[in-house]
Subunit: 297 residues, 2 copies
């Protein structure tokens, strides 16, 4: 199951990388240094998880993945811009990302701010120029909402607050879910939903996919926290133990590694049950659950 | 002429301010501090020039301004985000904007970065949720392109390069036109074009409006440079003489105040001739030329 999943992930990942490279190369109307800075982070070796989710759900509903590709690439641009801005000295102040100097270390702060802005804007440029149907407009609306001030950016704000020990809820475990649902869960979820919307999904399917997506987002974050606690720099390519150093609220700091692992397994099972409600071949997504549980990246 | 223009500008400006306030108040799904930071800059007393251009061109083509209002507000959000990010220490490092502490001075750098990101994203959220027709999609495409990596952001990159004495052309006057066309001209122009697109303008009209818009953008920049050289802090609300202090390439540093004024008059006349090609009531836009020539803000 995991090997089949990995093979498909690789196909989606390559398709995304090729599309992003071709698209950026075609954009010779962008100043050279800005384009280099954008490309540097786009080509820093991301797993292309969000684009993969988008293409997989599009295929699951019977439409060719190429229909979802521009939206998939837009998702990756939004994810990438958020990493660039997150790494800035005024934010997380991270010098490394995916084993390479972070964007502002390579291009300077001003260019990193602008490259982030440019990637966010280009995502909408790409999406809007690929709006042909009512479903495409709907996908763009979902994308804009999930990435925005009440979605991913809200999560970043909550994350900063949490570092100052200001939490969205008095209950730490509730705070953790809220922060991560916003910060990573919504964009992952909207990837799955956008692919389905482009393929003409009905509301019932979208509701189920949303529930699945949020569970996957949670699983992804728990495994991320575990990796941060037990992983090593080499396989993660970023500064490790940072969460602990800043006494950050994480699943590991809250529950310890063992209980965090148990919770991850339970959520993965729960998410698979949600997939069972869908009258489609959901093997990619159940493979994703197993893969995430065993991830080392 | 100028008084009629000012009265209409006021109507458009109030409509924009009301819309932005109501919209942001309705967005109680945005974390409170982020919303405050976004509103702080949105309500800092901007002239709402871009929204006014958008509504005026929509009305010029015979459609009610309310149809252009969401796009007009989106334009203002994009303009506002660009000011917030421009003022950051890593960029222009400006402590004041419109007579008030700049966003990062009031809310801290991290929140200013996120508020800028959020305004850019919210602009596309607003625009996409108001896409009902093919013309609306087209307006959004124009907006995304003008604000993006080959539009306004390209201008910001060129502007930073120019501060390091790296210019897009060996000819200083050509460099100046190129930088400002990108940095301010395209977004002003696209405001005019979007209003017309929403009102169903044909290609010939759009071409003429684009030519007019770029001339107006140039005029706006020249008068901006003159104001920076001769204005005072009170009427401008920002640090004055900054261009000179950093020996920046401006119309005044290149030609001196008197010749810059002559050039401004000539461009205003030229822009009015372009308006003469249009079979519509262009009085708002010709009033805008006179108003810009005599501006003190």
């Amino acid at each position: 199951m995991i090997r089949m999943f990995e093979a498909r992930l690789k196909v989606y990942s390559s398709a995304t990388t090729d599309f992003l490279r071709d698209y950026m190369e075609s954009r010779n109307d962008i100043p050279q240094q800005l384009r280099s800075s954008m490309l540097y982070s786009l080509m820093a070796g991301g797993k292309r998880l969000r684009p993969a989710l988008c293409m997989a759900s599009c295929e699951m509903l019977g439409k060719e993945r190429v229909n979802a590709l521009p939206f998939a690439a837009a998702l990756e641009m939004i994810h990438t811009y958020s990493l660039i801005h997150d790494d800035l000295p005024a934010m997380d102040n991270d010098d490394f990302r995916r084993g390479k100097p972070s964007n502002h270390k390579a291009f300077g702060e001003a260019m990193a701010i602008l490259a982030g802005d440019a990637l966010l804007n280009t995502a909408f440029e790409l999406a809007s120029f690929n709006c042909k149907t009512v479903d495409d407009i709907k996908a763009m609306q979902y994308l804009a909402k999930a990435a925005g001030a009440s979605g991913m950016i809200a999560g970043q704000v909550m994350d900063i607050d949490a570092e100052n020990e200001v939490y969205p809820s008095p209950d730490p475990s509730e705070s953790l879910v809220m922060i991560h649902e916003k910060k990573t869960g919504e964009l992952l979820t909207v990837g799955i939903m956008c692919g389905a919307i482009i393929a003409g999904a009905d509301e019932q399917t979208l509701t189920a996919l949303k529930r699945f997506g949020l569970k996957f987002g949670l699983l992804f974050q728990i495994t991320d926290d575990i990796l941060d606690a037990v992983g090593d720099f080499k396989s993660l390519g970023k500064t490790i133990g940072k969460d602990n150093a800043t006494s950050k609220l994480t699943y590991v700091s809250l529950y310890g590694v063992d209980e965090a692992r148990e919770r991850a397994s339970a959520i993965a099972e729960d998410a698979k049950r949600t997939l069972g409600e869908l009258p489609y071949d959901t093997s990619f997504f159940s493979g994703l659950m197993d893969f995430t549980l065993s991830r080392t990246w």
